[in-house]
């Protein structure tokens, strides 16, 4: 099944295809994959991500991903 994977700031380089515009890749994953499992597959160090959104809602590493989900991950960041 496919999900939309958005990796931002210093995490963009972990995208399977980092050159694709908009920080976004469509990736193929197996049913029942958790966010943590996907992070491991992409070789993103587990302590790196700080803010995780699934369809715009805060999520944790153990969340199971579903078909068509929009996953957005940020390293520790800020603003104002």
């Amino acid at each position: 099944m496919k999900i939309q994977l958005n990796l931002f700031a210093s995490l963009t380089r972990f995208l399977p295809d980092p050159k694709e515009a908009g920080f976004s890749n469509l990736v193929e994953i197996e049913e029942g994959t958790t966010i943590e499992e996907l992070l491991d597959r992409l070789k993103i160090p587990r302590e790196q991500p700080k803010i995780i959104f699934v369809n715009g809602i805060h999520a944790g590493g153990t969340t199971v991903l579903r078909e068509g989900d929009r996953l957005g991950i940020f390293p520790p960041l800020a603003g104002g």
Partner: protein, 578 residues
């Protein structure tokens, strides 16, 4: 900072300078100082452009010391935009220079009898005020070039552009940065119009011959400073995110969270967000020879600012902030960073609040004056503001006035001030702040976004009403206190997550002034500032009905979450229940 400089602009025979000891206002700084003076000395029902209003300019308690991050300046008055009390805050150099010159505040009082424009010069030899009508109409950049030519490049300037001279309610007050550019602004609430109504075009500060302010207990101060710096260099927000990407790092975050106000607050995601994100902006700036990491004042170690060059590598403007990129970008359906940078430059040059201007253009688009996404049209409109055409004057009076003139219902304001870059339906904590802060719709007054979206200082679900009142209350109190210190508000990220860093701030204040303040005293200070402000607003005619968001936020669902603002009116009335 033992003196207050009072200048009566309407005195017989011309402006009269009066330097007085700080007196009853001793121990106050920044917003504590400005709100105390305004609450005590300005009649709450006065006309904001009249002789009874006062413009108070105050450095913070730690400004002009060796404490890192202490360069913020507070400017207060009765606001011509909201009709209530206002504190606008700016970075840049003037705060520390003014503090080292020994002033706890400058108070501009009265009103000139004619249209003469004045220039004030303050250095180690004293204060001079001179008429200079050759400065009339000068945009900020041209004005600063002239001041540089006359007074050298060791100066720091506080100025208004043509917008302030025209007394437009969206007019800002500019503060020069380390490169002596007028890029930092006390933006919100029309403080520039009040400076214009007092006939003052520019205040030139030069602290040559003055030294760093020295602490009562240098050893303890040094120790506290060390812990302070360590804390800021440890927290990922202050040590990595902000220096690398600046505040515009928030574009992708708010967009992902579905709380990015798009097309005048119609939806919470913008398809063009990635194109105008902080990451894209930093890459572009670096490629064009600008800076993605840059401090706005000496002593800043976060360095969230930057410089933006045009495609030929020439300086165009400072790195536009998140609020500016949103207001002129996604809010207006514009996804062109160069156009946004051009708008930022125009706002800085004319002396306009970028948030108010962007929101106003969004309302103008809603009204059909131009299409959403029309970047060149937006640039034309801002130029009209600078020129003072009738349409320009309408737009320069802000989003509420523009909405009224063109019969628009969807006007995102509270107490007449435009909402910043977070939709209150998807970030309900900031919605509580927008509604209840005495400042009008203001994001810095109680930045619930940190906890709602970024999980700083804990975590409160942004899409539900639970916990938002408490969150906003605590942040409004803490922020008011921080605003008194001269500290840049971005220290709050480190302070909220690291108790030892909060303690270091208290230790620095105690070591500097020889005090024994506790965390409870800091809370008490924040509460007293808010009380002054609420009391002023009540006497000015504000009621609980003014602590509300516009109706449509309660009724109209915001995509992608299909959510409305759910914090009840009775709960909003509990924010100040101590």
């Amino acid at each position: 900072m033992e003196k207050i400089l009072r200048i009566d602009m309407g005195a017989e025979g011309g402006p009269k300078i009066n330097e007085v000891p700080v007196g009853d206002y001793a121990g106050l700084g920044g917003r504590a100082m400005t709100s105390a003076i305004v609450a005590k000395e300005v009649p709450p029902t006065c006309h904001p452009l009249g002789a009874d209003n006062k413009l108070v300019i105050a450095p913070g308690l730690l400004s002009g010391t060796a404490a890192a991050m202490s360069g913020r300046l507070s400017i207060g008055c009765k606001s011509p935009l909201t009709g209530g009390i206002k504190e606008a805050n700016s970075g840049g150099q003037p705060s520390q220079v003014l503090a080292r010159l020994g002033y706890a505040a400058i108070v501009l009082e009265g009103k000139p009898k004619d249209e003469t424009l004045y220039k004030i010069v303050i250095n180690k030899d004293g204060v001079k005020i001179q008429p200079d009508n050759s400065l009339k109409g000068l945009p900020n950049y041209d004005l600063i070039d002239k001041m540089k030519a006359q007074y050298g490049d060791k100066i720091a300037c506080i100025s208004i552009g043509p917008a302030g001279e025209m007394k437009l309610a969206a007019a800002s007050i500019a503060c020069t940065d380390m490169e002596l550019r007028p890029t930092r602004h006390a933006g919100r609430g029309g403080v520039g119009a009040v400076m214009g109504s007092k006939g003052v075009k520019v205040i030139v500060l030069d602290d040559t011959g003055k030294t760093m302010r020295s602490p009562k207990d240098p050893e303890k101060f040094k120790e506290a400073q060390k812990a302070w710096v360590k804390g800021l260099q440890t927290h990922p927000v202050t040590s990595q995110g902000l220096p690398a990407y600046g505040t515009n790092v928030l574009t992708n975050i708010l967009n992902e969270a579905g709380g990015y106000p798009t097309y005048n607050f119609k939806q919470g995601r913008f398809a063009g967000a990635a194109k105008i994100s902080g990451e894209t902006q930093a890459e572009l700036e670096t490629a064009r020879g600008g800076l993605a990491t840059h401090g706005c004042h000496r002593g800043c170690i976060i360095r969230c600012s930057g410089t933006y060059n045009d495609k030929d590598g020439h300086f165009l403007t400072k790195q536009p902030e998140y609020e500016t990129v949103w207001a002129h970008g996604g809010n207006c359906g514009i996804d062109d960073l160069d156009a946004i940078a051009q708008l930022d430059f125009l706002d800085d040059n004319y002396g306009l609040d970028t948030i108010e201007m962007g929101a106003t253009i969004g309302v103008a688009m809603e009204a059909g004056l131009l299409k959403f996404g029309d970047a060149q049209g937006a640039i034309k409109l801002v130029k009209e503001v600078g020129q003072g055409t009738p349409l320009g004057r309408i737009l320069g009076s802000g989003a509420a006035v523009t909405g009224k003139v063109f019969g628009v219902e969807r006007v995102p304001v509270v107490k007449g001030q435009a909402m910043p870059a977070y939709d209150p339906r998807a970030v309900q904590g900031i919605g509580v702040t927008y509604a209840t802060t005495p400042m009008g719709a203001d994001h810095t007054a109680g930045y619930a976004v940190a906890t709602n979206i970024m999980n700083v200082g804990g975590s409160v679900d942004p899409l539900k009403p639970q916990g938002q009142v408490e969150l906003s209350r605590n942040l409004q109190i803490a922020t008011a206190a921080i605003d008194a210190t001269g500290m840049c508000l971005f220290i709050a990220f480190a302070v909220m997550d690291q108790p030892e860093t909060f303690q270091a701030l208290i230790d620095m204040i105690n070591a500097f002034y020889g005090l024994k303040l506790t965390a409870d005293d800091v809370t008490a200070l924040g509460k007293s500032i808010l009380k002054n402000e609420r009391d002023f607003n009540t006497k000015a005619g504000f009621t609980a009905q003014h602590d509300r968001l516009p109706d449509f936020f309660k009724k109209e669902k915001l995509a992608p979450h299909d959510v409305t603002f759910q914090v009840k009116d009775e709960e909003l009335d509990q924010v100040f229940n101590w």
